[in-house]
Symmetry: C2
Subunit: 343 residues, 2 copies
């Protein structure tokens, strides 16, 4: 009999639920809007109905191992409480795990969304061959996840992997977290737009200013489009994104010496524009990277072919995520499978 | 029958060999000079003679578990080769482990000196109650060691824990490693003296200049003495040391969320002068530190009573090392004990 788990990606905008088997096949995926405005109970109802639907549909043909849920926020791993979640107002201190376990009578594992994305890429994506990896998710903010010895590394307070709040500019831009000069202020979609607006303010005649004027949505993608068309201002912004990522990645390489670091999230679509600066910083700032990677040549883990998967070896690999927005769903579904294998 | 291991601290200046029992009692310690100038074989002879002496002396009363050796340099953990060691010229690519195993017919484990210091503090020192910890050793350079789940974390190439080469000033002072703005350039004894000399160059009438003039040795300790006498220039230098340490520690807190970080090495004697700046940076730059520590009060893990050991909890502890220069000896002796328990 097949083994199946249900993965949930509970975002502030989308609520996605998938049945995934233990071989990593996505059996069925349901995508709903997260109706945050209708309140917490409404969202929980939607989620539980979809889970119940999938579970009823497959229970005769597969053994259901449990449910994994990726949530944007701080989770108390011991109690299953969602401590804090800016994207899910009204959910703070809510016992998400206990409530869903009560309703569906099965094991529920709650996990931070950046952690499940890392876990998904580690199971089936860019870091498939590795037992140790880190992932940075460049979205509205910058999330991070760390997998050591095949398990998500939570740290003493469940708050490990917050790479987005690493200082890259000691006297830099203020961050919502209270710090200044955090990576998130230089490598998120929000930061890309802010840096473009700073450029526009200095040079109202720039192509960036023109694009902002005619493009109502003017977002990180608009700026990337300018960069690939050769606009120097836009290119410079992405070079700076890469530089800051390179500084943080160098620190991770020097501290943890992991074999692979995966870059995902929406901004990672601009890989061609920012990745050369990452490698430039790494060659200079990370002993191990400089020692193990240059002789591998540009084609192997730098530039356009960075998608190529490298097996576990002595090389330090920096690469793009492969699973896109499904990483979190796969990672969430993996949680009860791993938990089961530990029992 | 007691179980005993022999720990060796093979430094560029001193060669120290100790018999330590599995309860952590230092049974006997032999201190020799490392006669680097007489060549590698001479040093190996001295080391093996001292080990043989201790082993003969205690073999009737205790079971010898093996030998652990802390070495300043890069070690290949698989082959036991000393890959590179600036302080031990002529030892590069030398099969230290195989040679000593051949001579003494017992298990030999080679380990980087900063890693054994961390392992010693984790076994018997400041991080005794913890299974996860990091240590920064502020000496001529800045070394680092990382212990995760009670084991030294080596990383993919055996080069994890290189916190000294973390970038703190992206456009800062050049470092011997090829990077610029490394922590080592702001928090080592060498850096303290360099920063003092920079101040003297700018202000030849300063108290620092006066001290440098009359003190032939003019070192980090001289500058610390001025700082505790209230000299503003000297105090500012140590505040900068603390600021840079605080930035790197914040990154470690945000990335790994370890419960404890230990600061050792000669410069850590100046704890009173630099630690307030560490805590200031941490409160601002590390989410978890800010969330878990302020309400604990100043007395618990900040300031003068930072020596007080705290049990494992949810608090982030930054504290001084407790074992001084014996940390490496204890950590080295621990290696074969742990290795034995894994067999």
């Amino acid at each position: 009999m097949n083994k199946l788990a249900i993965g949930v990606d509970l975002g502030g905008t989308n609520l996605r639920i998938a049945a995934v088997d233990d071989q990593g096949t996505l059996v069925e995926k349901v995508t709903l809007g997260t109706k945050v405005s209708l309140g917490r109970d409404h969202v929980i109802d939607d989620m539980c109905n979809a889970i119940q639907h999938l579970s009823d549909k497959y229970k005769s043909s597969a053994q259901l191992l449990g449910i994994g849920i990726g949530v944007p926020g701080i989770i108390d791993n011991e109690t299953g409480l969602l401590r804090e979640s800016p994207n899910l107002p009204g959910w703070a201190e809510y016992p998400v795990r206990a409530e869903i376990e009560r309703r569906l009578k099965t094991i529920v594992i709650l996990e931070n969304d950046a952690n499940v994305a890392a876990f998904g890429e580690k199971w089936l994506g860019a870091a498939k061959e590795y037992s140790d990896m880190a992932m940075l998710t460049l979205g509205t903010g910058v999330g991070g996840g760390l997998v050591l010895r095949n398990a998500i590394w939570h740290g003493a307070n469940g708050m490990a992997g917050e790479f987005g709040h690493t200082t890259v500019e000691p006297e830099g831009h203020p961050c919502g977290c209270g710090n200044i000069g955090c990576l998130e202020q230089y490598a998120s979609a929000t930061a890309v737009v802010r840096m473009a607006k700073e450029t526009i303010a200095k040079n109202p005649a720039s192509a960036l200013a023109g694009a902002a004027h005619i493009d109502a949505e003017f977002n990180a993608k608009s700026i990337y489009n300018l960069a690939i068309q050769g606009d120097e201002d836009a290119k410079r912004i992405f070079r700076y994104v890469g530089r800051c990522l390179g500084i943080v990645l160098s620190t991770l390489v020097n501290s943890l010496n992991l074999p692979i670091y995966v870059i995902g999230g929406g901004v990672s679509s601009a890989w061609e524009a920012f990745s050369p600066s990452i490698f430039e910083e790494l060659r200079r700032r990370a002993l191990v990277y400089a020692a193990t990677s240059p002789h591998e040549g540009v084609g192997s883990n730098e530039g356009a072919s960075a998608h190529v998967k490298a097996g576990p070896g002595h090389k330090t690999v920096i690469t793009r995520a492969l699973l896109g927005s499904d990483a979190g769903l796969f990672g969430a579904a993996r949680l009860p499978m791993v938990s089961e294998s530990l029992r």
